[in-house]
Symmetry: C2
Subunit: 493 residues, 2 copies
């Protein structure tokens, strides 16, 4: 909003209209320049204000990001104490710089990422340092003339090899930073050893300052409002499930909005439907979170060996649902309307399938959130399959409707099938019901894919040894429960 205002203001300043020119008194060149400058400054201020407002919104929406920023500031302030306190500075001197640098480079948003960087840095440094010293020893014994050549060739070879290792997917995922540090340390050690005598002392000082920086980072990140990558991944999967629930609900409600009684405004509905888009693009985030989570120690409800990789499988199955919902969403927007009688005939069943499917997803989301095995999930999945079966049954009775002249209702047409039909009456409906049939088919597919999500969550529950949940109060969040179980009792499937 502020941006718009700024835009408008800018427009006003750049394109002064005719009327204002006539009305304004003549200020002279200086006055005009001053006026223009004032306007430009005003525009600038508005822009900055708009930016700040955006930043404020971001901060309010995700307070943990603000906390992270404060933590970075805190860690840096603590590490600067090494400069301010005389005895500490006397011990380390200029090498304190390395502690500051380590804090800046290593401190990441989540504990896992920070730990991963610290471990990578340590491993890379030690490996490269040892190798560098070794190469230096070899170079020393090969004569003064050969020395720079041996050093240069080894730098070329090892740097190239380490760079190549960064392209290997398994290395890139977990040890990318370590490989970079390896190149850096190896080059520095093997090359600077050429000129320096007190290599070991230097290395020792530098290593100790880096260790100070790294351990400070780990302490601050784990003690002050820790943000665990594992929790983030857990939350992301849970949120994605809820987004899919909203999208699926919204899509189907939007399509059958005439027949159902829609209580939500068009705008809210559209916003709800768009949820699946986040799920479509969450792969990269999930993968990096999973990689970081694997470094994290036991925290909260998660043990060290928690099956984080299974979350990726759940994420993939959720994305498969999202692809289908994306397709469903464009079918929903299709212009061709099915004849009302057919629509009515199928809408109830479709809404049921969608509500059963979302119930399964909601139950799975609860399972994930509470980390307890759900006692109801099997029932929910059976219910969903039953809904799909009902929808199929409803479809089976469709041909009679298809053949009905467009004006007649569903009830009449059942009798009408046995009388001779002219071809002209037969032709149009198939095209009209095409989108509806597609919606039905996609709903079936979505139900099948939600079954896949349920399987993935079940696998997680057994891998992570979730305990069975205590029974929740009945009918909470599940208004259609009774009707369905009645249905299930009546029609045994």
């Amino acid at each position: 909003m502020a941006k718009e205002a700024a835009g408008r203001l800018e427009w006003r300043t750049n394109v002064p209209d005719e009327t204002s020119k006539k009305l304004e008194p003549d200020y002279g060149l200086v006055g005009k320049t001053w006026l223009r400058l004032k306007c430009v400054m005003g525009g600038l201020v508005m822009k900055v204000w708009g930016f700040l407002e955006k930043v404020w919104t971001l901060g309010v929406a995700e307070p943990r990001k603000v906390i992270h920023c404060a933590r970075v500031g805190l860690a840096l302030s603590i590490v600067s104490l090494f400069y301010y306190i005389r005895p500490l500075y006397d011990d380390f001197g200029g090498n304190v710089m390395w502690a500051v640098m380590t804090v800046v480079v290593v401190f990441e948003y989540t504990v896992g990422a920070t730990l991963s960087k610290c471990i990578n840095r340590a491993t890379g440094t030690i490996l490269a340092g040892a190798l560098g010293v070794g190469i230096h020893w070899v170079a020393d014994r090969s004569g003064d003339k050969l020395k720079p050549i041996v050093l240069g060739v080894s730098v070329f070879f090892f740097a190239s090899a380490a760079t190549f290792s960064r392209f290997i997917p398994s290395v890139k995922a977990r040890f990318d930073y370590g490989a970079m540090i390896f190149i850096l340390t190896f080059s520095l050690v093997s090359v600077s050893a050429y000129r320096m005598v007190e290599l070991f002392e230097l290395a020792q000082d530098r290593l100790s300052t880096v260790a100070i920086g790294a351990s400070l980072c780990i302490l601050v990140t784990m003690l002050f409002c820790p943000i665990w990558a594992g929790c983030e991944l857990h939350r992301l999967i849970h949120q994605n499930m809820e987004k899919l629930v909203d999208s699926l609900d919204g899509c189907v409600a939007h399509y059958f909005k005439d027949s159902g009684n829609l209580t939500i405004s068009e705008e809210d509905l559209n916003k709800k439907i768009q949820g699946y888009k986040c799920v479509l693009n969450s792969k990269a985030t999930e993968e990096s979170m999973c990689n970081f989570a694997r470094w994290e120690p036991t925290h909260g409800r998660f043990n060290f060996g928690h099956p984080w990789k299974q979350y990726l499988k759940i994420g993939a199955s959720l994305r498969r649902c999202a692809y289908c919902i994306e397709t469903l969403n464009s079918c929903v927007g299709s212009d061709i309307e099915a004849p009302p009688c057919i629509r009515k005939h199928l809408s109830d069943k479709c809404l049921k399938v969608s509500s059963y499917s979302t119930n399964v997803l909601k139950e799975l989301a609860i399972t994930i959130m509470k980390m307890k095995k759900s006692s109801k999930i099997e029932f929910r999945v059976a219910e969903m399959n039953f809904g799909v079966q009902e929808l199929r049954d409803a479809l089976k009775s469709l041909p009679s409707h298809l053949l009905a002249p467009p004006s007649s209702t569903g009830e009449e047409s059942t009798e009408a099938t046995s009388v001779p039909i002219k071809k002209a009456d037969v032709l149009p409906p198939i095209m009209k019901v095409l989108p509806l049939i597609t919606v039905v088919s996609l709903l079936e597919e979505i139900a099948a894919r939600i079954g896949g999500v349920a399987d993935a969550v079940e696998e997680l529950a057994s891998l992570a040894e979730f305990k069975p949940a205590k029974d929740r109060k009945p009918k909470q969040n599940l208004p259609t429960n009774k009707i369905i179980s009645d249905n299930l009792n009546r029609q045994t499937i």
Copy 2:
């Protein structure tokens, strides 16, 4: 394969089977341990061999990655000359370290990424340096007791603010590295200034070495086999189009494989079909390439102001196609088979729509590759729409087939519509044709989305001022051309 072999070998070593035990002579404890060690070593060697083989495959598949590694090695070797050559070392001393560090940190795979990092580093360093010196000046004037407090508070405040800026999407996309360097430099300058006197000299030396490192990186990355992010993005979009062509072709061919004459093996077909999966997950790569490409100077056929952002739009529209193809792919795998007569009735039309759609995509891929406006694209799109219309017409004549008893053929059923039909005959087919109708509907949707891709490419052509292409030889790559244009002439649409 080697991995499998290694696995097998390991299995053999760990689980010695009964028969071999009986036949083997008794070696005694030392002999056994030696044998086991030999086997373990063998397994290890096989594993390492397998890994090396994988690395070799990666290198052969993407030789440019190997070239990049050589470039990194080269740049580092050149920068080490500062240590080996006496006069150069005397000038810079230990500060040469900063040049080495800059090369390691700044050298990236593409020119754009390297430039982006260099510019970010320079901007971040200068801004933070100036601010740090300013803060130092203020701190100096606030008394000895207040000095560390002023410095500490300013480090806390600016580091937090810069960290927060990294969360703002627009900053993160282009200036993430700059913000990190800002924090680093600011902390180092403002804090170390507390203890150092010759701040300016130190800063000057450091800046000049960093500048040497950065310019070396830029020179090497631009002169030795440069890899341009823009070209990569261009190639990625082109490849994605071709992958979608393969997937769509493969999917439809797989579904109608009985009716068409399939010349390709099942395995190859499956591999072809999976192409869309790469497109589904290419968003992150496209976005980063686009961000880097915007830093690159004019190169090859791309000017500085090339509309890279439009490639993101094309990428998004390609992904929308991929979502649909993903859904189509699972419909294709459905168990329920449509009655042969209906299948036959629609398969030709479906194959036509798919072939017309892929023709559009192929033409668009050529447009992208050659960067010339296609003279045929409008015709191709019209052809695709015509194919969709034909498919719809074919669908319109379906109800008669639907009503036919399963044993009768399509030709007989046309006459059968006007005679009375029993309900029992009517019921089954609708469920049987459901997947087929869904395939038809998805094909229509895919065609519509390919239309979207065509629009996006057209927009790119006008934004980047593509020149019209010279006429290519007719019938090249386009075998169905003549038949279609005949069709078009017969049925004016």
